[in-house]
Amino acid sequence: MPADSNMKILVVDDMVTMRRIVKNILKQLGFANVEEAENGQEALQKLRADTYGFVVSDWNMPVMTGIDMLRAIRADEKLKSTPVLMVTAEAQQSNLVEAVQAGVSNYIVKPFTAETMQEKIGKIFK
């Protein structure tokens, strides 16, 4: 199933610079319908209130971390099939294992390139 360029995407990061970078790359890749959240809790509220095709999330955030948000998504009957791409500086093997066990769809280590994001999105929607 190729990625639908009209689908709504949620970018979750506490850093405004990272949200803007991810949003910009997604726009370059043809995804213009992008919304933002500053932490996992805010993201869950948005996800429960609307329909999103895809989530791009950071790991380290105040209030609710990306990994806790991912677990909450996978535990939610309505949201559990939403693809979640983690974009994080947590490059330790244990973190990656934890994310995979929690049901992450793919994982990008910062700093990253637009090509990497394109490749990962392509893999998620293959």
């Binding site: 610079t17 970078i21 500086a89 700093p111 990253f112």
Partner: protein
Amino acid sequence: MHNQAHKLYEELGELARFVESAMAAISEVSPQIMSSTTQLPTAASHLSDLSKMTEDGALEVMRLTEMLQESHGQAVKELSAVVETLRAMDCTTLVGRLEKVTSALAQDDKHLTEIMTTLSFQDLVAQRVKKLVTILNEVQGKLMELVVVFGLQQNNRASTDSGTAGELLKQLEESKTTAMQQKVADDILAQFGFK
């Protein structure tokens, strides 16, 4: 029995001398400990400022990059329309040249996207700064414990101003208050006839 008591007495004496010399040593460094304790919150504040400054800088570069991406997009659209018209008129040489320009613009777009992604350094810097601030706060807590446990004398004025760290922090504080916005500087220069 008498020998044992004498040995114990000697050991206690040795212990007392050790405690006394340890207390003297701690007392000797007490101004530095007090100085460090009082300077740490300022150092943490400067680190947070650093994070904010890099964020502001990155956001400004992003704003300009996005403006360029936008105008490139418009230029490519316009060029495509011109190419189509010229193609209909069978102007192959001009079409070829314009296609080269379009290709160069596409290459520039790639570079602009690279500029955007390179700015993710700011996020990595901010995360490290956050960790350093946490460490500084922990160290400050430990130093405060030391101050309370050993009852070190406070001499804030003298200690804060002493040492290289104190001097550097003082310079940073001064640079903060003497830093000037360009607009304010221009306004002042204008009052002196600069245009």
